[in-house]
């Protein structure tokens, strides 16, 4: 969680999930897609800039977006959550789930000419967990990594200290894209600025605050199996520019300065039209959720207060108003695009302020003070909700204000205060907060354990920031990550989702959705598993 912006996701390149929701994928050309052409340059404007282009270091979503073009992974995740070969032609999982043997494809070369071999896999993974790398995300993805054994140039065995059902998903993310071992040996200082992988585009330059420039890798011949074509990418070059202001970014698209933009404000998605169309992809992982601090001794330890809060807020209307119907309202602690998502959670409770009031009265918050807030034993019903501006996206501030205003109507005071990142870290450390909001993109249900696992407290590198200990839930989640049996996992994760909803452990708000605006002459853009666009197949009609 971290994540500042939705930080992380993992990628996979699957066009998936999304299809079917609206136009998307390859034939973005709206039916006029003719024969793909080669050449041309495409500029993609995105609001956030990477902090480092070494995928093992950075935790940002935008790093995945950029690095996916530069780095290939061992395996690729398909829309259904299963995996298919990429740089690894095939692999075997040990019976105890603690080691994986990868057989590498031949003929793959990194951009610096180094051939791909088992040593590169070892170098990449060792680099990720090396403390000197100061990895902010990749190392956590493969927690339990013990080492890689180079059996022969094309065979690598990766060992884990415990079974990990999400291991392949981790490997499929750009954060663990295979790096050139020669580049990894070079000067560590410049690594953020010189990513060297084997992907369809080569890194050219990164002008800070302006953009990253990539050019086609003419030797490329090893896309994942179900890619739209084989051989080198169709675009001569790809530029990713950084334009934080929504207005400006969209203006740049409509005025034709750029061919594609990330994060079209939902309010503008419908009104754009004309020469522009909007592609959508719902993010997998945890939706944007308000997590409740229900640890013993807190106000929210009382389930009635949690339920009351849920019922006090008209999320249907709120999400619709803020996102113009472009984003779905979320019900489950997992988004629909996540493997093992359980649709049965939908509609589990309704907006009902009368019921909320009843629940609060029942919980003993019966009197009101001068400002109209409920009071019990001389204490006001106050919930502390600190948040930071630099993690804010998607107009979440508006959601916060809406929740705050509606909670007030049933007598709950929410202190929705903006603080800086250091302060929020301290508050979390002291557990001096009642609500916390975040979303997390990763096409993997184990994300639930990250948020709710008894073992996933902040101190242990997890996202259970309140240090909740919910044995019933914990058992389901531990079970889910320890078995490779798909049916078993389906059952366990369905139970887990229902458990969270039934016990009002959190308030899922909306499903983050990638709205990518493209001009009508751009075709072939698909979405990776992290709901970011892929440019390997992209082309521009002339």
């Amino acid at each position: 969680m971290h994540n500042r912006s939705s930080l992380r996701h993992s990628p996979l390149c699957v066009a998936l999930l999304v299809v079917g929701l609206t136009a998307c994928g390859t034939d973005s050309g709206g039916g006029t897609a003719s024969q793909p052409t080669t050449g041309g340059a495409l500029t993609y404007a995105t609001p956030v800039e990477p902090d480092c282009l070494d995928p093992a270091v950075s935790a940002r979503d935008v790093t995945a977006l950029v690095d996916r073009n530069i780095f290939d992974s061992l395996v690729q995740q398909k829309p259904d959550g299963s995996f298919q070969p990429w740089l690894a032609e095939r692999w075997e999982t040990a019976a105890d789930g603690r080691s994986y043997t990868f057989h590498l494809r031949t003929g793959v070369r990194f951009h610096d000419g180094t051939p791909l071999d088992a040593g590169a896999v070892k170098a990449t993974l060792d680099h990720a967990v090396d403390p000197a790398t100061e990895s902010r995300y990749a190392a956590g993805l493969i927690a339990g990594y013990q080492g890689t054994e180079v059996v022969d140039p094309h065979t690598a065995v990766v060992r884990l200290d415990r079974p990990n059902a999400s291991f392949l998903q981790a490997l499929s993310a750009p954060y663990l894209g295979i790096q050139s071992p020669r580049a990894l040996q070079g000067d560590p200082a410049g690594r953020c600025d010189k990513p060297v992988g084997s992907g369809p585009y080569r890194f050219v330059k990164w002008e800070k605050k302006v953009g990253v420039e990539l050019s086609r890798n003419p030797d490329y011949a090893w896309p994942p199996k179900d890619a739209g074509h084989t051989g080198p990418a169709r675009l001569d070059s790809l530029k990713i520019t950084f334009v934080p202001e929504d207005t400006v970014r969209v203006g740049a698209l409509t005025s034709g300065q750029v061919q594609a933009v990330a994060s079209v404000p939902p309010g503008r998605a419908k009104t754009l039209g004309g020469t522009v169309q909007v592609l959508r992809a719902e993010s997998p992982g945890a939706p944007y959720t308000i997590y409740f601090n229900s640890a013993p001794g807190t106000v929210l330890a009382d389930v009635r207060v949690r339920q009351a809060l849920r019922r006090a807020v008209d999320l249907d209307q709120l999400v619709k108003a803020v996102y113009f119907g472009q984003y779905q309202r979320a019900w489950s602690p997992l988004t629909p695009a996540t493997p093992f998502y359980d649709d049965a959670t939908k509609g589990a409770f309704t907006f009902d302020q009368a019921e909320a009031n009843r629940l609060l009265d029942e919980a003993g918050w019966t009197t009101r003070d001068g400002a109209g807030y409920r009071v019990r034993d001389g204490r006001r019903l106050t919930l502390r909700w600190p948040h930071t501006a630099d993690m804010e996206r998607d107009q979440r501030g508006l959601i916060g204000q809406g929740v705050q205003a509606q909670a007030r109507q049933v007598g709950i005071e929410i202190q929705y205060t903006q603080v800086d990142q250091g302060t929020i870290g301290e508050l979390i450390g002291k557990r001096a907060l009642d609500l916390f909001d975040v979303s997390f993109t990763r096409p993997e249900p184990d994300i639930l354990r990250y948020f709710f696992g008894t073992d996933s407290t902040l101190e242990k590198g997890g996202g259970n920031i309140f240090g909740l200990d919910i044995p019933g839930l914990d058992k389901l989640l531990t079970g889910g990550v320890s078995t490779l049996d798909q049916a078993e996992r389906t059952r366990l994760y369905a139970d887990a989702q229902r458990y969270v909803v039934d016990n009002a452990i959190s308030l899922p708000v909306y499903v983050p959705t990638s709205l990518v605006g493209v001009t009508r002459d751009v075709h072939g853009i698909e979405f990776g598993a992290g709901a970011y666009p892929l440019f390997y197949d992209a082309w521009i009609a002339r």
Partner: protein
């Protein structure tokens, strides 16, 4: 924006109608600041998702924002903060600045030298940079914005009031008072202070407009008061994304800022002109 002591010249419109209009605007703003409910039609934070981005109409004279809050009522309620910040920042700047400036002018060479060198150092910063630094220390928020803008403007007032105090100290009437045998304290309190401060205060009236503008800029950058507190700068920042669908969200808060600043300038310039016309050598 922040660099205090606006060089707005005295050539501002001094026609009666302009002045009356400016006072009327300030009066209206004061009313909005003191008793917003007299003017507003709805509470500023009354969320109504169903009427999000409602167009301008009888229910919503300026339209409704993303959460269905009434923009007009929010603009009305925004007056209190904006005016308080403008007034507060200027008050801080003037009181601290004048105190130090007059002190520098009268407390002897060493104190003067030290104070003025520090002032030189601080004047070498753009005002906004100082304000940003202060906000970096104190954190965002209306009180901190006020302090930040006030402190950022202090060096200018130190210099201004020191200059004024020096002029007065060298004036014929202070020398006349020396010849008459008045004590140092009497001269300081009866002549130097009362004559050095008014020009500084008059300058400050114009600066209220500048401080107001600067505070909305900081809010625009996200360093001002927290939502859902209505504030013109942050309303404009939030509304920017809807410029094509709901232009009222941007246009009205911006317009109010401009009108408020104009009113401050016109009234301030008028006070200044009146003041200068009354002192010898002012004309």
């Amino acid at each position: 924006m922040t660099t205090l002591l606006t060089p707005v010249a005295a050539t501002l419109p001094r026609a009666r109608p302009a002045l009356i209009a400016a006072w009327a605007v300030l009066g209206l703003l004061a009313l909005a600041a003191l008793w917003p409910d007299l003017l507003a039609t709805a509470p500023p934070d009354a969320v109504d998702p169903a009427s999000a981005l409602a167009p301008i109409g009888p229910d919503h004279p300026f339209g409704a924002d993303q959460l269905g809050r009434d923009v007009y009522s929010r603009v009305v309620h925004g007056a209190r903060l904006s005016l308080l910040i403008g007034l507060g920042a200027t008050t801080i700047a003037v009181s601290v600045g004048a105190l130090l400036g007059v002190l520098a002018a009268t407390a002897g060479r060493t104190a003067d030298e030290v104070l003025m060198r520090i002032t030189d150092v601080l004047l070498a910063f753009p005002g906004l940079l100082l304000a940003l630094l202060v906000i970096a220390v104190l954190g965002p928020g209306p009180v901190n914005t006020t302090i930040a803008l006030g402190l950022a403007a202090v060096p200018g007032y130190v210099r201004l009031s020191r200059g004024q105090a020096l002029v007065v100290r060298e004036s014929g009437y202070v020398r006349a008072a020396v010849v008459l045998g008045r004590s140092r304290a009497a001269i300081f309190f009866r002549h130097v202070l009362p004559n050095a401060l008014p020009p500084v205060l008059v300058f400050a009236t114009v600066d209220i407009g500048t401080a107001l503008m600067a505070s909305t800029s900081l809010s625009f950058l996200g360093l001002g008061p927290q939502p859902p507190t209505p504030e013109w700068g942050s309303m404009l920042a939030e509304g920017r994304d809807y410029l094509d669908s709901a232009w009222g969200l941007t246009v009205f808060p911006g317009l109010v800022v401009t009108v408020a600043v104009i009113a401050c300038y016109v009234v301030g310039a008028h006070l200044r002109a009146r003041f200068e016309g009354r002192t010898p050598g002012g004309r």
